[in-house]
Structures are given as structure tokens and as C-alpha cells.
């Protein structure tokens, strides 16, 4: 089961510069919904925002509290509470077999090696993936690799799962299966994606543009506004 947490994320007056260019200047945001989507152009700040939430990036100014943990002060405790799924599973899988990949995360939480191996195998079996325990990850399809990545994160029982464009390397069947899996998660989920259809059943969508919130609210309204802006900008350039 996921760890307990108040399920709330609060960003207060965040400033962040990337490569000496200001990205966020005084951003404030509160998130309590279970399913939240982030949309926006490349470079708008979606990935940076996600990285601020799991402590991979720390704000230059302001505070961020994620499920009761202040990222600047309690950074070391964040991996136990916040799971992160990256764009390319190839970058995330560190070990050659499924069981080792799951066990590594458990060992990072302080579990002894033998116990971590047993728990990893049991966890894979529980998720109908027992066959992956001793399978070389290079033999898995891209969809299966992404599936293994999310299992490796879930094994660490986070209360929040962040996903940074997790579909870019997946075919349609894998994408649909993956979305079904995400929909069934008991954890709070925040996902950035360019595939706007996946947010239809989400509770909230936030459109980020140039480090600022351009629109925030129900998926249908925010996505419609973003689409319209894209259409307008094409019209202006052609």
C-alpha cells in the first residue's frame, strides 16, 4: 500500500533559473487532486516543475512542500514518497534483469540484499510478471520496459507518482495498457504529456507557458484553450 501522506502539494513563490535563464519567477500552486495533467510547449517548464516536486531540482527561492516534506530540507526522504517515471525507460533501468531492477530500489530504502531479492520476486509475481525476474531487460519490448520501470517505482510504495512524457517510445497498444494501469493506481499521479487525449478522465489539467500558468482547471476547457492557442500561432506564422 502507498505510504500515508496528506496528499497535498504546495508551491509558494517559486523562482528557478535554468542555464542562467529565469524559468519560474514567483510561481505559486496548490495541488490536492488525485490525477493532474501538465501540458504546454517544449521548454515551457513541465519537466522542470516535475523535477522540483521530487527534489531533483531545488528552487532558487520559495518553498515546496510535497506530501508533508519540504523539498529543500527533507530531500533525502523524497525518493521514498515520490516515484518518478522518465521519458525513456532505457535511461531508467539500471540492472540487467527484472528482479535486480526492482530489488535495487528496495535496497536504496535500506532493505537488506537477500530480503530485497525475495521481495522483488514476490512483487513481480503479484503483478503477473514473475517471468521477468530472471529475464534480461534487453529482451523486453519498449512497452514492457516502461511497465518494469513503473513496477520498480511502485515497489518502493510512493504516495505520489510523477510521469514525464512516458508515452513517447510506446506503440498504441502499450500506451493504452499503460494508461489503464495508471488509472488503477491508488497513488496521486501528476503526468506531463503531449498526448492530450490521455487527460480526458483526469481531475485537473494545468497548461504551463513560459514558466507561468496559462490555464488551470477541467481537462476539457484547458485542453481546448491550448489547442486554440496552437491553431492561432500556426495561423500567425503561415
Amino acid at each position: 500500500m502507498p505510504q500515508s501522506g496528506d496528499g497535498k502539494i504546495v508551491l509558494r513563490n517559486i523562482s528557478l533559473a535554468r542555464q542562467d535563464r529565469p524559468l519560474f519567477g514567483g510561481l505559486s500552486l496548490e495541488i490536492a487532486e488525485q490525477r493532474v495533467g501538465l501540458i504546454g510547449d517544449n521548454g515551457a517548464g513541465k519537466s522542470s516543475l516535475l523535477r522540483l516536486l521530487n527534489g531533483l531540482l531545488l528552487p532558487d527561492a520559495g518553498t515546496i512542500v510535497v506530501h508533508g516534506l519540504e523539498t529543500k530540507v527533507q530531500r533525502a526522504r523524497l525518493p521514498g514518497k515520490v516515484g518518478f517515471i522518465f521519458q525513456n525507460p532505457e535511461h531508467q533501468i539500471v540492472f540487467p534483469t527484472g528482479a535486480e531492477e526492482i530489488a535495487f530500489g528496495l535496497r536504496c530504502t535500506g532493505m537488506p540484499s537477500q530480503q530485497a531479492d525475495t521481495a522483488a520476486r514476490a512483487f513481480l509475481a503479484e503483478h503477473n510478471c514473475a517471468g521477468w525476474a530472471d529475464t534480461s531487460v534487453s529482451e523486453l519490448s519498449d512497452g514492457q520496459k516502461q511497465h518494469l520501470c513503473i513496477l520498480a517505482i511502485l515497489a518502493m510504495t510512493p504516495s505520489l507518482v510523477l510521469l514525464d512524457e512516458p508515452f513517447s517510445s510506446l506503440d498504441l497498444p502499450s500506451r493504452m495498457k499503460f494508461m489503464q494501469m495508471i488509472a488503477a493506481l491508488p497513488q496521486q499521479v501528476i503526468m506531463a504529456s503531449h498526448d492530450l487525449d490521455v487527460f480526458a478522465d483526469f481531475d485537473r489539467v494545468i497548461w504551463i507557458d513560459g514558466g507561468k500558468i496559462a490555464a488551470d482547471g477541467a481537462p476539457s476547457q484547458v485542453i481546448a484553450a491550448y489547442r486554440q492557442r496552437c491553431i492561432d500561432s500556426i495561423g500567425r506564422t503561415s
Binding site: 523535477r51 521530487n54 531533483l56 533525502a76 525518493p79 521514498g80 515520490v82 516515484g83 518518478f84 522518465f86 525513456n88 532505457e90 535511461h91 531508467q92 533501468i93 539500471v94 540492472f95 540487467p96 534483469t97 535486480e100 530489488a103 535495487f104 530500489g105 535496497r107 536504496c108 530504502t109 535500506g110 540484499s113 531479492d117 530472471d134 529475464t135 534480461s136 534487453s138 520498480a152 517505482i153 518502493m156
Partner: protein
């Protein structure tokens, strides 16, 4: 030689990682002491037999060695020219045997077991401020990411060939190096996001030292 872990179980899979690494080190030292080309050739033949018998049914793995052949031939030719054919045969037999043995260990040892076996050996490095857990993870990462890097190089070469119709030049190494650094960044982020960081590792060590 870096090739993936063999998931089909052989007898060598049941030998502990520590013993395998110890045996590998001992045999490698013995090989450096042997100088007679006949002795080395016989020893290399014995190693090849051990390799083939252990990995029975998985001989296709040997195909991975084709990329090494030009290197072995080059070294042999250089040695034959400089020091004579006896020394050339001795060098090639020694090198080939050590590569095959190392591959046997990588093929039959899970990475986490290898890391666990290496960590105590590397522990004295702590005295000079080096964390053994990170060194053993670095070894594991090299083994895991070598096929990924080879794949990246193939993609770069294909893109070059598609645009020029020629073999990729050496200067393609510069963008490839940039790819490697980018990959390293991604992997570091992935490790950190799962709680493996320099600071945490050091904190763990301090806690262990207190115990």
C-alpha cells in the same frame, strides 16, 4: 568483453560471485606468469573448452566476439613483426583466454551479486574518501550500458551513412561523446530519484561505521 547476463541457468550460476571473481583474478595472474607459447596455447584451449561446455546451447554468444577479431589480429601482427611469431601467439592466447574467462563470469553472475562481492574488497578505499558502494555501482553501470552505447553509436553511424553514403569518420566521436554525457545525466537523475545519491550513500556508511 562486455556482453549481457545469461538468464538460462548453468552450473556456474550456482557458484557465488565472490569465488568466481577470486578465481578470475587468480587465473588471470597465472596467465601473466606463463610465457611459453605452447603452454599458453594449451591453457587457452582448456579455457575455450570450459567456455563451450559451460555455455552449451548458447554458443551464439561467441558471435559477439567478431568485433574483437580485428583487434586480436592487429595485436598479433604487431607482436609478430616486433618480437616474433612465438610471442605473438602467446599474447593472443593469453588475451583471448582472459577475455573468455571474464565473459564467463559476466554471463553467469547477476549484477547485484557482483556489486555485493566487490563492495567489501573495495572497502579500504574509504580511507581515501572513496565510497565503495559507488565504485561497485559504477562497474555495474559500465556492464549494463555498454550495449546501449553500442546501439547509440550504430544509430549515429546509420544517420551519417544515410546522408553521405560513406563510412562514419572519427569526428563523429564528438557528437557521440555528447550523447554519452547526456545519457549519463539521465541515468544519474534516475538513480537519484530512486534514492541512490552520493550524500545518502555516505550517510549510510557513517551509520554502518557507528554500529
Amino acid at each position: 568483453m562486455i556482453a549481457p547476463y545469461l538468464t538460462a541457468k548453468t552450473w556456474l550460476h550456482h557458484v557465488s560471485a565472490g569465488w568466481k571473481l577470486l578465481a578470475l583474478a587468480a587465473i588471470s595472474i597465472a596467465f601473466t606468469q606463463l610465457t611459453d607459447w605452447r603452454g599458453l596455447l594449451a591453457a587457452a584451449a582448456a579455457v575455450l573448452a570450459l567456455y563451450l561446455l559451460t555455455l552449451l546451447g548458447h554458443w551464439s554468444r561467441l558471435r559477439l566476439y567478431t568485433s574483437l577479431l580485428p583487434l586480436l589480429v592487429g595485436i598479433g601482427a604487431l607482436q609478430a613483426y616486433a618480437s616474433g611469431w612465438e610471442i605473438a601467439i602467446a599474447s593472443i592466447a593469453r588475451l583471448a583466454a582472459m577475455i573468455l574467462l571474464a565473459d564467463l563470469v559476466t554471463a553467469t553472475t547477476p549484477m547485484l551479486a557482483m556489486m555485493d562481492a566487490l563492495s567489501p574488497v573495495l572497502r579500504p578505499l574509504r580511507r581515501i574518501g572513496v565510497d565503495e558502494n559507488q565504485v561497485s555501482l559504477a562497474v555495474a553501470l559500465v556492464i549494463r550500458f555498454m550495449p546501449v552505447l553500442l546501439n547509440e553509436w550504430t544509430k549515429r553511424s546509420e544517420a551519417w551513412r544515410a546522408r553521405t553514403g560513406r563510412r562514419p569518420p572519427l569526428r563523429l566521436l564528438a557528437p557521440f561523446a555528447a550523447d554519452v554525457l547526456r545519457l549519463a545525466d539521465h541515468v544519474a537523475e534516475a538513480l537519484e530519484s530512486r534514492g541512490f545519491s552520493i550524500k545518502r550513500s555516505q550517510e549510510r556508511n557513517q551509520e554502518e561505521n557507528k554500529d
